[in-house]
């Protein structure tokens, strides 16, 4: 068994076994540590996939594209587990969680990681679908874990909308198979993405179009594109903060990844509908809708959830535009958004803990009471609202300029949306970190290391991206066409 396939198996097996183990351990301190260790091991073995790739089977595949996602995924999964270790015990003290639930939480965390990794490495579109459903269900359970009315309601909403999404995605998958089976013949090959992309030219365009509509809606619900987004804000706001971080940082990406896989299939067939315009439209709608929604938010986590919708809109827009520059920008934006947004949720988690509330009205003058935390939050918000020298500025620079030189009229709503979102975020951020301080100024015990790691990376990427990554991103951008 080759080195690469060893790494691959590790990426899949470690989370599963960790989940089993964690489900058995009662002591939450130990389980938190195991959680961190498992996540780290997964990350390391994922990094090994750089070195060597396993051969593509009809079920699993590792190529440039999903390596980007896997590495990012496992890395954020790892940092989040670190954060969660320093965060979750406070929840226990404050009585929001019982040890039983905490055990369940850790197990589910690993299940979630497994689901996402499986979705990313699966070559079989049916398997991918199952994996994404698994990931969704585990997050549903975590969102509801606090068992407050709000939490349960959010979980319920997430669950219903998510299931409908899943159903639509499945129908799309079946249609794809049908289209493929006409050309390739029955059997596994007709569901293997690697084969589909190669043979897509000979598929029945009408079936492909229909399939893409369903897949766009199905996986788009997971991505959180408006108007399919409804589950997202509440799920972020009511679940435990680490889960919010993982949701925004990872699960949305995984869904987007699925969408991209199918976009490539569509693009490979000349007669089929061009997927670009659809994605561009939905991206713009999400961007502008979310931008306006930001202005009325009172709950800090819900606000950043909406900002995730906004950024997913930008990313979808970029991939919809296509072309080397826009795709590169899309990938970069996705990576930067994952890092920044999860970092922001870390910070928000600390803030909510020290101030004892998620309502922004109750949080003022952070830079006075908690200078480090406050300024870190400032950095995070600036980074997410596309201010240099942070990575998102570079991607927005590329998206806007390339769009304007190609389709000027599309750039207009784009910058309007960006500006609106900027205005809202800065307005709230000023209110949070400046002005006469309110609320407690109890010291913040949690570790800020994950934050610094994330924002450090974002800052670095805004100024200098290592050539290795550049080349890598560019090949992927080329793949995406």
């Amino acid at each position: 068994m080759s080195f690469g396939s060893f790494a691959l198996t590790a990426v899949l097996l470690i989370p599963v076994s960790a989940a089993v183990v964690l489900a058995l351990i009662a002591n939450y301190n130990i389980s938190a540590r195991i959680n961190v260790l498992a996540a780290m091991a997964t990350f390391l073995s994922a990094a090994l996939l750089f070195v060597d790739r396993p051969p593509t089977t009809s079920y699993l595949i590792v190529d440039d594209m999903n390596t980007v996602f896997i590495v990012l995924n496992t890395f954020v999964g790892f940092t989040t587990s670190v954060f969660s270790a320093s965060y979750i015990d406070h929840e226990l003290e404050s009585g929001k969680l019982t040890p039983t639930y905490l055990r369940f939480y850790h197990a589910m965390y690993q299940v979630l990681l497994f689901g996402m990794n499986l979705a990313l490495v699966s070559n079989n579109i049916g398997l991918m679908w199952v994996a994404i459903e698994l990931a969704t269900l585990s997050t549903v359970l975590m969102v509801g874990i606090y068992r407050t009315p709000q939490a349960l309601e959010a979980a319920w909403k997430y669950f219903i909308l998510g299931s409908v999404g899943i159903a639509l995605a499945l129908y799309g998958t079946i249609l794809i198979y049908l289209a493929a089976q006409g050309a390739i013949g029955e059997g596994l090959d007709a569901m293997a993405w690697s084969v589909l992309v190669k043979r897509a030219a000979s598929f029945d365009p009408a079936l492909l179009n229909l399939a893409f509509v369903f897949l766009l809606l199905g996986y788009g619900t997971k991505v959180g594109l408006a108007p399919l987004h409804a589950w997202l804000p509440d799920a972020h706001a009511e679940g435990p903060t680490p889960i919010s971080a993982v949701l925004s940082g990872l699960l949305l990406n995984v869904a987007l990844f699925a969408l991209l896989r199918f976009k490539m299939v569509m693009a490979a067939n000349a007669k089929a509908l061009a997927p670009g315009p659809l994605m561009v439209t939905m991206g713009l709608v999400s961007l502008i809708f979310a931008a306006f929604m930001l202005y009325r938010r009172r709950d800090i986590k819900r606000m950043f959830a909406y900002s995730s919708i906004e950024h997913m809109g930008i990313i979808t827009f970029a991939f919809g535009m296509g072309g080397p520059i826009a795709n590169f920008a899309g990938l970069l934006h996705m990576t930067m958004h994952s890092l920044t947004k999860s970092g922001i949720f870390f910070a928000v988690g600390h803030v909510a803990q020290v101030k004892g509330t998620q309502q922004m009205a109750g949080i003022r003058g952070l830079t006075v009471t908690h200078p480090v935390l406050g300024w870190t939050l400032v950095i995070g918000v600036l980074a997410i609202s596309g201010v240099p020298p942070f990575g998102i500025f570079m991607s927005e620079f590329l998206v806007v300029t390339s769009t304007f030189s190609r389709q000027p009229w599309l750039a207009l709503p784009l910058i309007i949306g960006i500006l609106l979102a900027f205005g809202a975020l800065i307005l709230r951020m000023q209110g949070l970190v400046f002005g006469e301080p309110t609320g407690s100024n109890a010291p913040d015990r949690a570790s800020l290391v994950p934050l610094f790691a994330h924002f450090g990376l974002v800052l670095a990427a805004g100024i200098f991206i290592p050539p290795l990554f550049v080349a890598w991103f560019q090949t992927v951008a080329a793949m995406l066409g």
Binding site: I160, L228, R296, P388, S402, T403, I415, G423
Partner: protein, 671 residues
């Protein structure tokens, strides 16, 4: 090599900021000294580049920024002249800051950002590719935003900072679009690439408009100026000086770089929008300034005015260049650049003065000041020079540049286009009006603050400020005088820039002219000699003084003011700032600001006091910004319902979308 040194000293500024965060919070002087030294290095570089202009601009590429392009830096004479302005002002302002920071409470919130702010402005001027330029540009906004928030506990500062930041980001996005067009589809983001890349007339015009809006939002062009009078006063005074004196100039640099260098002047009519906007900006700016009672806000509005003047000259230069009169365009451009320098000098001087007032009396309200010429003689004297200079009085520098601008306007007969023939003199008349009102405005400014009798206890107990501040203001004042009396030499300094931007457009070297006289076009056309005028006025004045005192009496008796026999000792009886503005308000107010005077004279026997109130509306805010924010809030409210739907309704949304897409699909596949 030279670029490398420049970048090194910029990096030095960054390090300074870092150290300021880590160690030097309680020792501001060290930080400012570091800033001064780095600024001096950059100043030397700028000077060297201007004195010995190299034919080809040296470019340096770092593997930063957009990976496949890298970050380019270059110093040509254009960047050099602005480097000069930036760093000269910054250095002197930092000297002022050493003194000022002793009274600054929020040093911890100023020191980390100040050096980065300087670095940002320098980088904008050094950058030679779109990404680097915008990076530095946003850096400038970001740090100045943070500096505006130094006193973050006052609500209006928060509001000012917010409006400022949003407007700044609007500008940046507009510039993004500009560069997007300039770079073209293949995305050649370097300045070389953009120069090489040719645009259609349509998109070139679009670039012009976008560049005007993008840079104008930072420079403070009407109607994008609303943030400026809010943000500049909110910052610590030395920062206000830099924001007003320098940052707006960096925006001007952006405009010149994009339009004159990257884009190139395509058509004669391009000057028209620039001129018109500039004229409106100058006029509205100074009129709003006349009515202010807050010292720093008044100065900020007058910055708006001067930016307008600069853009008027740029517009003239564009029109002349578009009609292929390079020489005249050169004169106009020279006027613009001279005014850039001059305004940087006297505006920074005046802001430092306002800062000293703040330190000495703790107030920014002119109504509380008065009679400070006795208690703060040096500040008063420098402020007097600054006010005279900004009022365009000979022989100071403000007059020199405006004189040159008038000369340019008098060249307008050589326009062939009708619209220009008629526009230029009208703009000239507007400019004259502006200059005159500026004089009135600064009579009011100086007279209310430094003359008369103190209007509050703070003004009563004011003391002269520390030595550093005085030295800084002295330097600025000296520069105002020098660049005023020998405008010819100053013009020679900007010659290389004109050479670079307008081939064979530079005016004859002025050093050759005898008597240090200033002859822009031709001797029989017009000439001006500041130094002689200065000598004449001073000599004849002192001569007369001596004469009178010698031959006639020099007796002098102090007594109470006569005041037509009705002397009233109470300082309330003297003219206040607002009462001084009343005649002008009567003339211009109703038309432009909807100024209304509400007088209530109680009927006889009624014991209530008579009241007098004046209301002034900022029409631009009411007409443009109020509706926009209203619209945004309105839509936000409407959309916010989507947060509170039932699950079933959300499902219906999904369902509806699905059906919609299927319908579209059905239609598409039919056709």
């Amino acid at each position: 090599m030279i670029v490398l040194v420049a970048l090194a000293s910029v990096a030095g500024l960054f390090v300074t900021a870092l150290l300021a965060v880590l160690v030097g919070r309680d020792r501001p002087a060290i930080t400012y000294l570091a800033c001064i030294s780095f600024c001096l290095v950059l100043l030397a570089i700028a000077g060297a580049t201007l004195i010995a202009p190299t034919s080809a601009a040296e470019t340096l590429t770092l593997p930063l920024g957009i990976p496949w392009i890298g970050m380019h830096f270059a110093i040509d004479s254009l960047s050099a002249i602005f480097l000069l302005v930036v760093n000269l002002t910054a250095a002197i302002t930092s000297v002022f800051a050493i003194g000022y920071s002793r009274h600054e409470h929020a040093n911890a919130r100023v020191l980390p950002f100040y050096p980065v702010f300087l670095a940002g402005m320098n980088l904008v001027v050094l950058a030679a590719d779109a990404f680097g330029f915008l990076l530095a540009w946003e850096f400038m906004s970001l740090t100045s935003w943070a500096l505006v928030l130094a006193q973050h506990r006052e609500a209006e500062n928060m509001r000012a900072a917010y409006i400022y930041f949003v407007m700044a980001s609007l500008g940046t996005l507009t510039l993004l679009l500009t560069f997007g067009l300039l770079a073209g589809v293949d995305g050649s983001y370097t300045f070389e690439g953009m120069r090489a890349h040719h645009l259609s007339a349509m998109s070139a015009g679009l670039v012009l408009v976008l560049a005007l809006a993008g840079t104008g939002s930072k420079a403070g062009l009407v109607p994008l100026h609303v943030w400026l009078p809010l943000a500049h006063p909110a910052a610590p005074s030395h920062v206000s000086a830099l924001m007003s004196g320098v940052m707006t100039k960096v925006a001007v640099y952006g405009f010149i770089r994009i339009v004159f260098d990257l884009l190139g002047i395509h058509a004669w009519w391009w000057g028209i929008p620039v001129m018109v906007v500039g004229g409106a900006t100058a006029f509205l700016g100074i009129l709003s300034a006349v009515f202010q009672t807050d010292t720093k806000r008044l100065l900020a509005y007058s910055t708006v005015e001067n930016i307008g003047i600069i853009f008027i000259s740029l517009g003239l230069a564009m029109s002349f260049a578009g009609e292929d009169h390079p020489l005249y365009a050169g004169v106009a451009l020279t006027a613009a650049l001279l005014h850039v320098f001059n305004h940087a000098m006297f505006k920074s001087l005046l802001f430092c003065g306002a800062g000293s007032l703040l330190v000495a009396t703790g107030t920014r309200s002119m109504e509380k000041l008065g009679g400070l010429i006795h208690r703060m003689p040096v500040t008063a004297f420098t402020a007097l020079i600054g006010s005279a200079a900004i009022s365009a009085l000979p022989p100071l520098n403000g007059f020199a540049s405006e004189w040159l601008l008038f000369q340019t306007i008098l060249l307008s007969p050589s326009f062939s286009a009708w619209s220009l023939k008629l526009l230029a003199p009208s703009i000239g008349a507007l400019l004259a009006l502006t200059a005159a009102i500026a004089a009135a405005c600064f009579v009011r400014y100086f007279g209310t603050i430094f003359l008369g009798r103190p209007r509050s206890a703070e003004a009563e107990q004011a003391h002269e400020v520390d030595r550093y501040s005085l030295v800084a203001m002295g330097m600025f004042a000296a520069l105002c005088v020098i660049s005023g009396v020998v405008p010819g030499l100053a013009a020679d300094f900007v010659r290389p820039v004109v050479d670079l931007l307008l081939p064979n457009g530079a005016m004859a070297p002025q050093a050759a002219v005898p008597w240090l006289s200033f002859v822009p076009v031709a001797p029989d056309r017009s000439s001006y000699n500041g130094i002689l005028l200065l000598i004449f006025v001073l000599s004849s004045a002192s001569l007369m003084a001596v004469l009178v005192r010698k031959v006639a009496s020099h007796r002098l008796r102090r007594s109470a003011a006569w005041d037509c026999g009705f002397p009233d000792p109470r300082p309330e009886t003297q003219y206040t700032a607002s009462s001084f503005a009343q005649p002008l308000r009567r003339v211009f107010g109703p038309l432009l600001f909807g100024a209304k005077e509400h007088v209530v004279i109680p009927s006889p026997g009624d014991l209530n006091p008579a009241t007098f109130a004046v209301t002034i509306h900022d029409r631009i805010w009411d007409v443009i910004y109020q509706p926009i924010s209203g619209l945004v809030n309105n839509i936000a409210d409407k959309l916010n319902r989507f947060q509170f739907l039932t699950v079933r309704r959300y499902l219906s949304l999904v369902f509806g979308t699905l059906v919609l897409l299927l319908l579209i699909l059905a239609i598409v596949s039919r056709s």
